[in-house]
Symmetry: C2
DNA sequence: ATCCGTGCAAAGTCTTTGCAAATTA
DNA sequence: TAATTTGCAAAGACTTTGCACGGAT
């Protein structure tokens, strides 16, 4: 999932960021450059804290405040996308050169699987229309067990992993006519 | 949306809560009763803080800590459901006597529209199957503009309301074959 | 020469926790 | 009576902000 960017792609991202900053009178500082590069070489999904840690490990020193001030810039210029999973943490993922997608989260191992489906967008439009609602975006997150965890778990075992808050539980209720 | 519960329904909720507590050696205190009743008479969606405020207005006095300690109980016994919208706040909604549903949020007026669709569950299963993923729950949230706000907004006006973080933006990109 | 940005620590927000006194089953 | 709860305030986790110094254009 964490795709390795080519030098060209990195250069493109850099110029996007640079231009974004320039256009609004902001400066392309060494810290911002450091952060951009670190973000691009980081795994697809991460949080502010992880970024700080991987920077430290790389011998780089950027204040936490700077990270918190820079991440929104990277989001606004389209290089990152903010993602909310179940927890209170703000997660980020690469948006640069990625297709829009949604997420499946394994309750057991917390693995994140990305997927995209036109049907979702179609469905969202149909549903919205019923309420004369003009849909412009959506979040669709599926929780459950990935294949590996299903395998590893003998039938009937219910480890009671905390749920994604707000998820629609599969109660096994019979489908009801609309 | 905020449906008024009958006395019977309230009594049922109370016995559910009571039994839930009893079953695990917990106590049905006046504070818990107060909170249960307040929750049931509150609007469909609320947060911890709002609950505190409406309690105060009703002349009731329950410590904030007690609220934070009680809400999870009400969630676990199925009377409430935790919902995460875009922000960091933990929102709650009535689950007692409600059908599973998802939400549409208006970017403009923040109105929340509930909807349910079997197609979503069907779609989630189909998608999950592609990854040999066992889906047990989902969250589907649509952002956009409600009818009233579409009406109120002259074409071309883009007030730039902060987005639901993590939402898939409608970029108007042409549908691409998988 | 100006602004803008950084670091640091302090402040904020929402939530959790420790503890003694008060209650419930 | 024994164990759970409450209220209060302190602590926590994550994020934002104020300020003085340093740096980019």
């Amino acid at each position: 999932m964490a795709k390795q960017l080519t030098e060209d792609e990195i250069a493109t991202a850099e110029s996007i960021f640079r231009e974004y900053l320039h256009d609004r009178g902001l400066k392309y500082t060494p810290e911002r450059r450091t952060l951009l590069l670190e973000v691009l070489s980081n795994p697809d999904h991460f949080e502010a804290e992880q970024l700080l840690i991987s920077l430290r490990q790389a011998g780089q020193r950027v204040a936490k405040a700077t990270i918190y001030r820079t991440l929104p810039l990277l989001v606004n210029c389209g290089i990152l996308r903010q993602v909310q999973f179940g927890d209170k943490l703000t997660h980020y993922e690469h948006a640069f050169g990625q297709n829009p997608h949604d997420h499946m989260v394994c309750r057991q191992c917390r693995r994140i699987i990305e997927f995209s489906s036109e049907d979702i967008v179609r469905l969202r439009t149909v549903i919205a229309a019923r309420f004369r609602f003009h849909a412009t975006s959506h979040r669709f997150q599926i929780s459950g067990l990935c294949w590996e965890c299903v395998q590893a778990r003998p039938a009937g075992e219910q480890p009671f992993v905390p749920l994604d808050p707000g998820a629609i539980e599969d109660t096994g209720s019979p489908p009801s006519a609309p």
